[in-house]
Amino acid sequence: MSGTGKRPSDLRSDGLREAGAGQRPDPLREAAATGGLREAARTGEADSSQLALRMSGIWKSYAAVRANRGASLEVGVGEIHALVGENGAGKSTLMRMLAGLFPPDAGRIAVNGRDVTGWSAASAIRAGVGMVHQHFMLIPTLTIAENVVLGREPMRGLALDMAKALIEVRSVAEQFGFTLNVRERVRDLSVGEAQRVEILKALFRGARMLILDEPTAVLSPPEVQELWRVLRSLRADGGTIILITHKLDEVMDVSDHITVLRHGETVATMLTTNATPAGIARAMVARDVVLVSVPATLPAGAAPPARPPLPAAEGASRRRAERAASLTLLQVQSLTVKGSRREPRVRDLSLTVSPGEILGIAGVEGNGQTELVEAIAGLRPVASGSITLGDHDITALHVHRRAALGLAHIPEDRHRRGLILDYSVADNLILGRQASFAHHPGGTFDRRRVLENARERIARFDIRPVDPALPARALSGGNQQKIVVAREMGGDFSVLLAAQPTRGVDVGAIEFIHAQLRAARDAGKAILLVSAELAEILALADRVAVMYGGRIVGLMSRAEASVDRIGKLMTGALEGAAVPA
């Protein structure tokens, strides 16, 4: 293997899977990994029957979104294969097609050498392909055994043969080394145990190929270690495991092979022993520049430039920096926010945003960005800490009081929060300020002013079609987002929360929205920009903070920011700990 030294997990797994490893053409794999794409090596590999799975040229679109664009994936029998990529890279879509939840638009899927393209979920289960979803599908009031046998209950006549069920479930649990009391009720289990029950359920149905969709998202570190133990013992037993994740330490810890997806395409395949976290991170986040408005992102490893080459931005930038030193408009101090299951989603986080500054928050989605923004906006209770807007402590204020104090908010999900889709464009353009359009509070709307407001915003923000009476639902994604932007940025505000402001909109609208954000910054507004698009952060932000696990793990000026550096921080690698590749 590679000369970098083996990690304990490798030593252990080698011992466990001698038989499996012996059958596999290891030299070829080495060649594949060193040669870049494994595909090249595969062509010379006669023994493709050893592949548990081969997906090739997979295309899949939902409406306007292309989730998979010619993605491919090859997984050998008896390996733990990590499928990595950012949110939206198409990992889950690819795996759902493998599990038979829906067919691909194009491409082929072969399991154990048999073409199964477009099969049903039932046939996938019969063929031993089991998927453990991110969200558990267990019945809390039933016991582990009852949950596991659900749908395949051993019967005695018309009655459930509970004794037999217990024996069967116990034997499967023992076979794979699960430490579970099968008579315990699921509602009394920890999250980690519940997940093991999900895995047990799949195994009970005869799964030989197990797909795990971000299984560690809800686990504590010891639970993660327990999960790895289970997965390794499955592998030792000849099972094949596909692990969807975006956490690099996990990939390095437990996988044998890695496939990286980006924008729905397979961009790299490597042997874990030859991979470095930095290399995987680069493959995950390095983006081709797709947007005209975005200045060139840095090639990995290049020296950071002074500032993105924005013409005539230098003077303004300096002025901004001077103002920034003097005061802050938004201050978040030691903020802790809990999620729906009381787990901390934002942990003791502090940040400040100054007038004339865009603070960009980069990070893989799901690391607390949503909760942070919602807590500042007043949509989520704060467990501890404080939020200050100008001179006002707004920690406990209601949403509309915050708005009155100058807080604007472009929410990350316009279909859920940002718009009322069945309301007209005009009615959507007053959402959040509806009180000021009534003759007296709670009274009749001044229809004339509502319409005037709509006409003015529609013209200024170029919302099309020009028709205030049209329901928001009828507009394109870009124009819907422009309604939100026009409403939030068209009036008076001092601080703007912009969460994923250009998600799912066309290139023209992206440019327009970026221009609006820059103009607001130059007009002295304080902007907190949260984006999953690294390119967007680099194009707009004056300072970049990286969130991971509910904390800011890195804070740097734009000049110090690079794709490489942010990319590593995004995936949880500690600053300074990762050795340059």
Binding site: A377, H398, A403, R416, R417, I420, F437, G442
Partner: protein, 356 residues
Amino acid sequence: MTAVTLRARAEEAFLPPIVALLIALVAGDLLILSVGQSPASVLAMMLQGTWGNAYGLGQVLYKTTTLICTGLCVSVGLRAGLFNIGGEGQLAAGGFAAALTGLALPAATPSVIAVALCVLAAVASGGFAGWVPGVLRARFGAHEVITTIMLNFIILAALNWAISTGLRVPETLHTHDVHAGAVAPLASVIPAFHGSAANLSLVIVLAAAALTGWYLFRTRGGYDLRAVGLQPEAAEYGGVRVGRVWTRALTLSGALAGLGGINFVLGYKHYYEDGFATGYGFLGIAVALVGRNNPWGVVLASLFFATLSQGGLAINAVVPRQMVDVLQGVVIIAVAASVPEVRRVMRFGRRGVRAR
């Protein structure tokens, strides 16, 4: 607005009731055939007994009046994303309060004042009966379907107890006659309606429908209410206090049902009688669905269901009366399957909006 969206809106508004009507017609024909009668002659008999003579029409209008109230009650709830099934109890509470107020007032009270006070009492008690599940929902997350059904039992049982233990005229299940606060019969304006139960409550109720429409579509309160019903999370984002809107909507909803109580108590019998509300609460759901939760749609749907109900009596001689009940059921199922609001409300419980 473009022609296309206008057409789409018109289709969404009118298609479900039209489809439901057609289904009712076909199902009705089949039912009539199944009992060996000619659909044409039975339908003709039905029309003659309802819209064909002044008395029949008066009876239809009387039933329409109560149905508008329970229909509006359900509509306002649904607009806020809440399923108020408590219309029946709220209606009974309204009628009872109107009767008590009328009994308490001296007989010499000027009619305008007495009617106003009785109406106020009906609205207030119905509103209170709606406020309770509203608060339970907003504060404790208790699902309004459960609480309103349970409150139906509680209210109806309490009123039954009150009537049967003391307030009644012996040997009956109704109160003494109310002398103050009587609403004049419709016949006092249009003599042809003489003998029918129709009364000027219809005018008050139509005014309430107009007011409800104004509130829902022209005011900020209605804007917030509908926003909560359509997208609670967007409403929350827009600074709407979702819990307060829930409470307000159920209170208003209950008040509208309570108003319906005056039709029977002040306009028709002039006393409260146990069981007068029976059936109206649930029929209100059908009215709201067919009326597409629009106040004027509710008025039209009330006319339709009142016609069906009165028509059932008219054809009683040749066709079993239960047939009309079956027909009503068919219409409700047909509409329920085609109305988007129903699907939205059924989905509602799964959404994670906190009441604050």
